[in-house]
């Protein structure tokens, strides 16, 4: 009983924080979408949506459901894609030739 309550509480906590992070990531994407990090921040928004859906699934269905585990793995993969996109954006920015300043 206590474990079940604790489980539901932690899932609800993840859902609440995940929703806030998802909203902020969408707003950040709105800000940075024309920057070199725009695409990466878009992937972050998609990952946060998956994160929210995953925790909703956990609340409405048994925790041991196999599809929830697959969903979770998809989120981890999405996070990895997001991080390596950031690395790629950052390397691309560094490899650009520097513009000479007018004295």
């Amino acid at each position: 009983m206590v474990e079940e309550v604790l489980y539901n509480l932690t899932v609800a906590f993840s859902l609440a924080t995940g929703s806030a992070a998802g909203l902020l990531s969408l707003l950040t994407w709105e800000t940075l979408r024309r920057s070199p990090f725009g695409r990466a921040v878009f992937v972050l928004s998609v990952v946060m949506v998956l994160f929210i859906v995953y925790h909703v699934l956990l609340l409405v269905s048994p925790a041991s459901a196999a599809y929830a585990e697959v969903f979770k793995s998809a989120i981890f993969t999405g996070v990895m894609v997001f991080i390596w996109m950031l690395v790629w954006s950052q390397r691309r920015m560094r490899s650009r030739p520097q513009v000479e300043r007018v004295p």
Partner: protein
């Protein structure tokens, strides 16, 4: 199958962590957005590494770890979004018609703004005829408005027929002064 997925998550998490370590190392000299960057990295490290580890060794803590990771992402993303909103507010304010930012008194007419703006832009002592010529009004009208402005201390008479703007007049132009409240006798 579940065990295999957990190992896959851990492997992917380690790959993510390697990317994060590289990012943290390569961005260590950047000062702007440092807070944004390090909170995001911390959030993703917790999610990518501590998440799968908790899944393997303490399953009851998994979602608490997810919550903590999302909280760190919130802390990271809050600053740039907040700054952007603040920037939008300033831009909206600064792009407005300057007269919208002021608080004219009930006794004031639009011509008063024109007179005060002329004083402000030239930063000179001016006569009614010079003002009238520059704002395309009659000298009598300008004389009347200068008397009102002087009575409310937005301009002062330097000597007969010569005026200049006061600190209160500058304050009114900048929108920091209420034309009624501050200048009423």
């Amino acid at each position: 199958m579940v065990g295999a997925l957990q190992l896959y998550d851990l492997a992917v998490g380690v790959l993510s962590a390697l990317g994060l370590v590289y990012l943290a190392y390569s961005q260590r000299f950047i000062v702007g957005y440092r807070r944004f960057f390090y909170f995001l990295i911390a959030g993703f490290l917790v999610f990518s590494v501590a998440g799968p580890l908790a899944d393997l060794f303490a399953p009851s803590l998994t979602h608490a770890v997810h919550g903590v990771a999302a909280s760190l992402v919130i802390l990271g993303l809050y600053d740039p979004v907040h700054n952007d909103l603040r920037k939008d507010e300033w831009a909206r304010l600064l792009l407005q018609e300057p007269s919208d930012l002021r608080y004219p008194g009930e006794w004031m007419v639009p011509m008063d703004d024109e007179i005060l703006e002329l004083f402000h832009s030239t930063d000179l002592v001016l006569t009614p005829s010079i003002i009238a010529y520059n704002i395309d009004r009659s000298r009598e009208e300008v004389n009347r408005r200068l008397s009102e402005l002087e009575a409310h201390q937005l301009v002062e008479r330097v000597e007969r027929g010569k005026y200049r703007i006061t600190q209160l007049g500058e304050g009114y132009l900048q929108g920091t002064l209420d034309g009624d409240r501050q200048t009423s006798p």
